[in-house]
Symmetry: C2
Subunit: 348 residues, 2 copies
């Protein structure tokens, strides 16, 4: 089942629309955008993945560099240097120090109509500090009062964790470091306190026992988190049997908190589904999609850097309509709308 | 190098000393004890691992059961039941529900001299609630003022995380749920605030990038944690190249915080080493053992359920002397003493 109304202009943002952050860099993918409203406009905080154009006989890549005005610097190695180990196409090492061949930053795009976006020429946020040397990815933007909370994947040789920054004006940012240690991704905040506590969904990964499941945690201040509770596991033989993770902030409805999430099966096919959480106790899952509410069926959702993927981490609510911004095939940004009551109708 | 003075009575506690928690259960291992002082006595909060004696044609195991007076219940399945899947010796499943063949609880032992222990006949704490269905393991006990903080591994089908309970009298306990989500273990608190914040060491595990590294985090209340920082990674070709994790609470010295930790190499040989952390900024590692300060060299450290292991999560400080309680070969509890100044001498 697929109840998404795809925009006829899809994909609405493609890599060729994005100016590389440094000379010689190639924008490989623009994907997985957080979405928010600010000063009457719609903003997308997009993930831009770049790699360096390669010169013969050399291997070059980008690393985050907070001391550089560009936020990144280029490092190059001679392919015949015996200290270089580059057997894996995604990661290589020099004298034991690892590097990724592709790193991501976050870039803003602005729109009045939610479809036609003006993309800023420079990155908004690049990896900074030792927890973000390999870049930052997949940001959820949650607004609580007049503050925007940015929760994103911080990638470094230390692992992948969830970092937090806040802003009120989209010009100055406050950093709070990692709020969830590795391995963790797919973190979104609820937009209001529940029983006097802030609440987050996130996606740690078990080892030995457990797996990539959805968890719910609480906080007095949005910076320190505890009372971690696993609320949804993968389901054997179903569309979300291999992994799952939260999308953007849960939507408050009179039936409960509606969370649109991604799930992936054994063929690494990413679909969207929905979960209904108890309004007073969001660790209680009232209902969950037996079938996806959105599947990779359009050509741009099936072919790309990593095909058969629809993945969302940003939406805009307008009454019963939810406008979903989603990454398709890990390559482009697309848009679709759904009716909230129709999603609820599939659940209960 | 090995600077440990092993007690001549080692091992001081063996499985045969421990009364099983239910009829038909076999104590397989008694290991990895937290250590503390209470009312002038030394207490060990030991991990006791049990399995069920097997009846022919059946497969029985224990699961945590908070509604049972014993804290656990026995579940049995017919081996010819087609719903039973028992190909793995450590874990099996019935109708898709997983079970472990061995589960652990925490049991107290008391001593006046620190060598001869009286073991309680009943478990003190058993797994309780959905995060501890497969038991609880490897508890660190940290005393801050008159409260004892118990940080231990909570094991369930949701993964392995770190849970917190507190007590003042070793009779009544307050539960605070998971303070670190999966995969996480080896958590100890510092015994005082640093720069106005409580501090913990713990051991999350990265996926894709990162690994089983030591992290340091801070908290306003010991329940909610943030500002997670990786402070020590595995070191290629060294004794701690495969994984590492904190032992008991860091020891305050005039050189800095001294943390005795375990490391493991590619042959899964577990040794103890030391780390010196800056007194005002414990995320800063001043020095770290090039060579272990204790290695599995005694016979009881080399042979057992899982050989070649010395692992500590409990110690008692008396002036310059640290008495280390440690699990040997994952089977028995042993004791050794070291001079703190001698450990520091190996570091700086």
């Amino acid at each position: 089942m697929d109840i998404a109304n795809r925009n006829e202009k899809n994909p609405i943002i493609v890599p060729a629309d994005v100016v590389p952050s440094v000379e010689g860099a190639v924008v490989e993918c623009v994907l997985n955008a957080g979405a928010f409203k600010f000063n009457g406009r719609i903003g997308l905080l997009m993930r831009v993945a770049e790699r360096m154009e390669q010169v013969e006989g050399e291997l070059s890549t980008l690393v985050a560099d907070e001391n550089s005005e560009l936020g990144v610097k280029v490092v190059s190695f001679k392919l015949d240097d015996p200290k270089l180990d580059y057997t894996d196409p995604r990661v290589f090492s020099y004298e034991g120090v690892p590097y990724l061949t592709t790193i991501s930053h976050l870039r803003l795009a602005w729109s009045d109509d939610g479809v036609n976006f003006e993309i800023e020429e420079r990155p908004l946020l690049t990896g900074s500090g030792k927890m973000e040397t390999f870049g930052i990815e997949d940001c959820r933007v949650t607004q609580i009062d007049d503050t925007y909370y940015l929760t994103y994947s911080a990638v470094s040789e230390n692992g992948v964790g969830v970092a937090l920054q806040t802003t009120k004006d989209w010009k100055t940012f406050e950093k709070y470091g990692l709020i969830f240690p590795p391995h963790n991704k797919d973190c979104t905040f609820f937009e209001e306190k529940i029983n006097g506590k802030f609440v987050a969904l996130h996606r740690p990964v078990g080892a030995d026992v457990g797996g990539p499941y959805m968890w719910c945690s609480e906080s007095p201040d949005l910076i320190h988190w505890g009372n971690h509770d696993c609320i949804a596991r993968t389901r054997i033989r179903q569309w979300d049997c291999q992994r799952l993770g939260a999308g953007a902030a849960p939507i408050k409805t009179d039936k409960g908190w509606l969370e649109i999430y991604h799930g992936c099966n054994d063929e690494s096919r990413y679909c969207l589904g929905a979960m209904l959480l108890d309004i007073n106790n969001p660790t209680k899952v009232i209902a969950r999609s037996d079938e996806p509410i959105m599947e990779p069926i359009a050509e741009y959702e099936q072919k790309g850097f990593f095909g058969n993927v629809v993945f969302t981490n940003g939406h805009i609510i307008d009454g019963d309509k939810v406008t979903i911004y989603y990454g398709a095939s890990d390559t482009v940004i697309c848009m679709a709308t759904m009716s909230i009551s129709e999603i609820l109708g599939t659940l209960v």
